[in-house]
Amino acid sequence: MGSVTSSEREFINAWQRDFPLERRPFRRIASMVEETETEVMATVRDLIRRDVVSRLGAVVAPNTAGASTLAAMAVPPARLEEVAEIVSAEPAVNHNYEREHAFNLWFVVTASDAEELRATLDRIARTTGLPVIDLPLEQSYHIDLGFPI
């Protein structure tokens, strides 16, 4: 497992949300953790450099801008690589996972509007000759605040 010190773990858990929306956010954090602004910035840079943190930024809720859906396909195992490549090549596909199930390929499509979304799903079904089930979000029951690592 990636090694983080206990203070780094604490820092990540504390700042997965509520990054200050003010002119000098790192200085605000510094005053709360009794470090200097420079030290806080160095900590974040280092966590990103080591790839234990992918970025410091905004996490956008799905379905608030444009149109998106979760789609699944039951791909014959012998065709998985080929089909996964076709799916991943679609620019509107931003997550594509292999999962252990008859429905073994799961991907998220985010398009600028419903037509582009439909066209992407249709193109994947046509190119692969396999049905795609479309499971759009109807309701979210979780305010994603980040979870303890």
């Binding site: 990636g2 000098r24 990103i48 996490v59 799905p62 379905n63 859906t69 997550h95 252990e100």
Partner: protein
């Protein structure tokens, strides 16, 4: 398919576009973003605040790379729950701190009977199974079947992007 683009205007979308991939790690990150967009820093901060309040942006902060941190068992638990009970079930499950996403999605019979999705993370499958059992206990007879789908490979992952 859900479209809610009316929640954001063009300036909001440009701000999201400029910040979702990561804020610049400088002393005044919002000023740097504002400068790139030709906006006032106060406008950038106020709009980010408003998008947070409306739920367009879920949070601003460090985004951990869970795989690098050893949280590698990612189990998508899916639950067959009658339509009229999905809401109460979703509220129960969504409140659990080990559930990172909890969504109601339509069933697609005959192949797919599940209506509630809850993403459960753990260091190994055993930990995920324990958490799924906890969810099953909470739901009691609200659910008439569930499965856990483990991811075996990430084939593509880019940050959620807004298509232009």
């Amino acid at each position: 398919m859900t479209t809610r683009s009316s929640h954001t205007d063009d300036i909001d979308r440009r701000i999201i576009g400029a910040t979702q991939g990561g804020l610049p790690l400088v002393r005044e990150p919002y000023r740097a973003v504002a400068k790139d967009l030709g906006l006032d820093p106060e406008v950038v901060m106020a709009r980010l605040q408003r998008m947070l309040e409306r739920g367009v942006i879920r949070r601003i902060g460090v985004v951990p790379n869970h795989y690098a941190l050893g949280v590698t068992a990612n189990g998508m638990s899916v639950w067959d729950i009658p339509d009229d009970q999905v809401r109460s079930a979703g509220e129960l499950v969504g409140a659990l701190d080990f559930v990172s996403h909890c969504y109601h999605r339509p069933r697609r019979l005959p192949d797919w009977p599940y209506t509630l999705f809850a993403m459960v993370h753990g260091r190994d499958r055993e930990e995920v199974e324990r958490k799924v059992a906890e969810i099953a206990g909470l739901l009691g007879d609200k659910q008439s079947g569930h499965e856990v789908l483990y991811s075996t490979r990430i084939l593509k992952k880019t940050g959620l992007r807004i298509a232009a």
